[in-house]
């Protein structure tokens, strides 16, 4: 019978652990190709069982070291190597538990002090009388489970509200159908565009301020509902403008690069017309004066990329259903005051705020390939009475109160938005010290044995 300590500290266990860990990791990388990075992080690498295996390895190494007590000089390399690995493992587990990691997203000219974390929450919110319940979710961890049946309960004034998530699609495709026969007036036109073999189609909704127009190639394509000729006074150049007259007929106004117009009256559905200066051909293939939108979600796969939830909310005997995408919110008609449900990344307040003064992308000459990204920021820490400006660039982070802020990516646009990745990891010094100790130990081990041999 082997003494339990001898077994725990044995080489047999150590080698088994090394191979088990290698196997789990190999499986993890393959799992990642199927379910995505967010899923594998939580399901494997940060899971209690994997961290448990790593902790067990640390215990094994420590026991192996203590079993050789009292230590002699010849044990030094062995002890160093093992001590170093124990420090790395401890530092890693510590950093995972106590560290903070998130993103700080700041548009130019604005200031932000709220980190966006990489886990998601379901928020049930009733602005009046100010009820706010936030639940950490983990749907993406088991992304293959499309019917999680998770229950969330929030105490509302009129009684508890139960929200059941009965469907979860990690990669949902939103389908929208535009149909005729709605209740209200809502003009929609389906337009086909064609030029030199390129063809496209688009639905324009005259009363939707996000969807009344689009850009295609060098042209603006708009669907307007002018109440008088006056409204059509200033039109953009190089445009195809579909206008709905008061009688409900469609006409088209074409402008060239100088803004000169040509008007086509009584547009026929399904007939092709040509914008002479641009050479683009277009047709209105369908026109619904009272369009209605029908939306649904379909699962596209198991990789976490465009998440959507289906909720069933219940209070007393009233039930409401709704779809909810990530970073979206829906209002549920319960009681006197509306209840809002939101699915979004969790957030966390920083003890200071960062303002983006300017963002720059610097290209290699003659290309659009980035050579560098830079953010000029101003950090304000009222608590400590500190305020200063600094340039953050690739490999050149801003450090403050244990937080490091790195240039991570950016969102282009008229107002550029910088994305800084923010990290606070108290385990780093332990891990770095571990690196040095391991390397010195292993080098010592091999050189001393080489000399002996």
């Amino acid at each position: 019978m082997v003494h339990p300590f001898r077994l725990i500290g044995s080489l047999r266990v150590a080698v088994t652990l090394l191979i088990v860990i290698a196997g789990v990791l190999a499986w993890g990388t393959i799992y990642e190709t199927r379910f995505g990075t967010a899923s594998v992080q939580r399901f494997v690498y940060q899971s209690w069982w994997f961290q448990g295996i790593l902790a067990f390895l640390a215990v094994n190494l420590a026991t192996a070291a203590f079993l050789r007590y009292p230590w002699k000089r010849k044990h030094l390399p062995f002890l160093l190597a093992h001590l170093g690995i124990i420090m790395i493992l401890t530092g890693g587990i510590l950093g995972g538990r106590l560290g903070v990691e998130g993103q700080l997203i700041i548009p130019e000219g604005e200031s932000n002090d709220t980190l966006q974390m990489d886990r998601n929450v379901l928020v049930i919110h009733q602005p009046n009388p100010g009820i706010h319940a936030e639940f950490l979710t983990r749907f993406e961890t088991t992304a293959w489970d499309h019917a999680p049946h998770a229950l969330f309960e929030a105490p509302l004034e009129e009684g508890p509200l139960q929200v059941v998530v009965d469907r979860y699609y990690p990669d949902a495709e939103r389908r929208e159908e535009i149909l005729d026969g709605g209740e209200r007036e809502n003009p929609a036109a389906h337009i086909l565009l064609s030029h030199e073999g390129h063809e496209d189609d688009i639905w324009l909704l005259a009363r939707d301020r996000d969807r009344f127009g689009a850009r295609w190639g060098g042209a603006h394509v708009l669907f307007l509902e002018p109440e008088s000729e006056k409204e059509l006074k200033s039109l953009p150049p190089d445009s195809i403008i579909l206008a709905r007259t008061e009688k409900g007929e469609l006409s088209a106004i074409l402008t060239d690069s100088a803004g000169k117009r040509k008007t086509l009256r009584r547009i026929q559905i399904g007939a092709w017309y040509t914008h002479s200066s641009l050479g683009y051909r277009f047709q209105v293939s369908a026109y619904y004066p009272r369009a209605r939108l029908e939306e649904s979600y379909e699962p596209r796969g198991d990789e976490v990329r465009a998440e959507a939830l289906h909720l069933v909310a219940r209070q007393g005997d009233r039930t409401v259903q709704s779809w909810l995408g990530l970073r979206e919110r829906v209002g549920l008609p319960f009681g006197k005051h509306p209840v809002l449900v939101e699915y979004r990344p969790a957030s966390r307040e920083l003890p200071f705020s960062v303002k983006l003064l300017d963002f720059r992308k610097i290209d290699y000459p003659g290309t659009e390939m980035a050579a560098a990204f830079e953010s000029d920021v101003e950090l304000n820490d009222p608590e400590r009475g500190v305020s200063f400006k600094k340039k953050i660039s690739m490999n050149n982070p801003l450090k403050h109160r244990g937080y490091s802020m790195f240039q991570s990516s950016y969102v282009p646009g008229p107002v550029e938005t910088t994305i800084l990745s923010v990290r606070k990891d108290p385990g780093v010094p332990l891990v770095y010290a571990g690196f040095l100790i391991v390397l010195s130990g292993v080098t010592l081990l091999f050189t001393s044995r080489a000399r002996a041999a």
Binding site: L11, A14, V15, L18, I19, I21, L25, T29, E32, V40, E101, D171, E173, R174, R175, E177, I178, E196, G197, H198, W203, D210, R211, G213, A214, R215, W216, G217, G218, G279, E303, R305, A306, A308, G325, L326, E328, Y364, P365, G366, T367, E368, M369, A370, A371, A372, F373, M394, N395, M405, F406, S408, D425, V428, V431, Y432, F435, L439, V442, F446
Partner: protein, 541 residues
């Protein structure tokens, strides 16, 4: 009619001009780079036509091609001689370094001079079978002409769906990747026939290319922005000399001579083999040095260059080990490696141009050390794999009593030790770099995870050997298995599991049949060695 969009992109589906095929409609298809000034390219055309018209006869034609070779141009973020541009472009478009055996410079100048004729030439490579089928090209048609792509429109019809997928940052299938590759070739060729060549960079801070400046610069022969003469000469020389080609033949010759020495023990074979090895090494070093000087960046910044660095480190290690053990086996193994890897570097579809590095990899000391160390650590492990094969051969031939086994076994073990230290150091340096660049020293990215798997495997092996579970044949088999893990880390992750380190590799590539054959052969070899070892262990002593 249905409209598809993902919930993340919200309710609006306003077609923004960001998708290339929409943005560039009506004028040009080049989505990648800003268009140069028209005046400039016509200037260049005049120049080229001048060169060609001066020399109607064949003998003189050569002279004019020579003159054009050293003209500096701006291409893909770097100023380089036209010669490099021509080589890169011909390789990119046709998939081989020469078109019909012609000098790439001559090909490019001919395209510039006679764009109409070249539009009809089946010049653009379509290496992927399923894409040929999609384009209805016939199974054996490896190249397609620019005008055919335009007239059939099949390629253009495939693009919008792929671009939409890219915008949703969805993974592309192999067919879609290859389609985009072909489109990229199409765009490059389009740029060529519309004479979108960029001569001379604008001064810093200015985006406009001025014809007046160009004239001045060409007259003066050099200006502040015009690269130094020796640089251009050196790059043309580097292109022409093909140092890695020379090095790989020298390595091969050295390997044969060193093997002869090992088998026959004749003095002259050792001398000749040793000096050829040294010569190969010097050529190899000179080639790497030339790339560093020309690119003004560290020696390893793309996949191609890792294939140059690995055998270099292997050769350095071999030289060090030879000083200690003086057996010739290390030099032999390194020479074998050098000849194989340099051959592969030229024959795998890798981008061999001296290109600038992406933003996150720029000017960072830790990164440079990390990459050199990690790729360097592959060298002793690969060296160990070569030695493991030698061990296996000897063991299969002469059994456990073969006289060469003890020394080969020792060398194998030493190589693994060096490999483990270097790999561990490389991984840790990578962690330090990641912490400095991204704020996290470890992120379980597939590449780093596989490097760790490789390290754990060899650690397990070393411990197993330490207590005697693994003997010589077991170590040899384990080393070859570990080499598979290394292949996965080095090659597999970049091409089959693309992660954060994707800037180091490419996208999904078809699985080459040669690789499958190689893996099968290795497995049979390992099985044979293992069988013999197990049988020997069962036999009563």
């Amino acid at each position: 009619m249905k409209i598809l969009s993902s919930p993340r992109s919200g309710p609006g589906f306003t077609r923004t001009p960001s998708s290339p095929e929409i943005q560039d409609m009506g004028s040009s298809v080049n989505a990648r780079s800003p268009r140069p000034r028209a005046g400039l390219s016509s200037m260049f055309m005049l120049f080229v036509i001048f060169l060609l018209s001066v020399a109607p006869a064949r003998a003189d034609e050569k002279v004019s091609v020579e003159a054009a070779r050293r003209v500096a141009i701006q291409h893909n973020g770097r100023v380089k001689p036209l010669d490099s541009f021509a080589r890169e472009t011909v390789d990119r478009l046709t998939g081989s370094p020469r078109w019909k055996g012609q000098d790439p410079m001559a090909t490019i100048l001919s395209i510039l001079a006679e764009p109409d004729r070249w539009q009809e030439e089946p010049f653009l490579s379509v290496p992927f079978g399923p894409l040929r089928e999609k384009l209805e090209l016939g199974r054996k048609t490896t190249h397609v002409s620019y005008s055919e792509l335009i007239s059939t429109k099949k390629l253009m019809r495939m693009l919008p769906a792929i671009v939409e997928k890219q915008q949703r940052s969805e993974k592309l299938t192999m067919l879609e990747n290859e389609t985009m590759e072909l489109y990229d070739r199409f765009v490059t060729f389009h740029g060529l026939i519309s004479q979108e060549l960029r001569l001379l960079p604008p001064p810093p801070g200015e985006r406009v290319w001025q014809v007046g400046r160009l004239e001045e610069a060409l007259q003066a022969g050099r200006s502040a922005n015009y690269p130094a003469r020796w640089r251009l000469e050196m790059e043309v020389f580097y292109n022409r000399a093909e140092p890695f080609r020379i090095a790989r033949f020298l390595y091969l010759a050295a390997a044969i001579l060193l093997l002869m020495f090992y088998l026959g023990r004749r003095r002259w074979t050792a001398l000749a083999g040793g000096s050829l090895f040294a010569l190969a090494f010097l050529t190899h070093v000179a080639g790497i040095a030339a790339r560093v000087i020309l690119g003004q960046r560290p020696p390893v910044s793309n996949f191609y260059e890792t294939m140059l660095w690995l055998p270099f480190v292997a050769a350095v290690l071999a030289l060090v080990f030879e000083r200690i053990y003086r057996s010739g086996l290390f030099a032999f193994s390194a020479a074998v490696l050098g000849s194989i890897l340099l051959l592969l570097a030229d024959h795998l579809p890798l981008d061999s141009s001296i290109s600038p590095v992406v933003a996150v990899l720029r000017s960072n000391l830790w990164l440079t050390i990390h990459v050199l160390m990690v790729v360097g650590s592959y060298a002793p492990i690969t060296l160990a794999a070569v030695l493991a094969h030698l061990y296996g051969f000897f063991y299969l031939k002469g059994g456990a009593g073969h006289p060469a086994l003890p020394s080969v076994g020792l060398f194998l073990y030493r190589s693994i030790q060096v490999g483990v230290v270097m790999l561990a150091a490389g991984i840790m340096l990578g962690a330090v770099w990641a912490n400095a660049s991204w704020g996290r020293y470890w992120g379980w990215d597939p590449k780093e995870t596989w490097a760790l798997i490789t390290l754990l495997w060899f650690l397990a092996m070393l411990h197993g050997r330490f207590v005697g579970w693994l003997k010589g044949p077991g170590t040899a088999v384990g080393t070859i298995a570990g080499f598979f893990l290394l292949l996965m880390t080095y090659y597999g992750v970049s091409f089959y599991l693309v992660g954060l380190h994707s800037y180091a590799g490419g996208s999904a590539k078809p699985f080459p049949p040669l690789l499958i054959a190689y893996l099968l052969g290795e497995i049979l070899f390992m099985a044979a060695v293992a069988r013999k070892a197990v049988a020997a262990a069962r036999r009563p002593v």
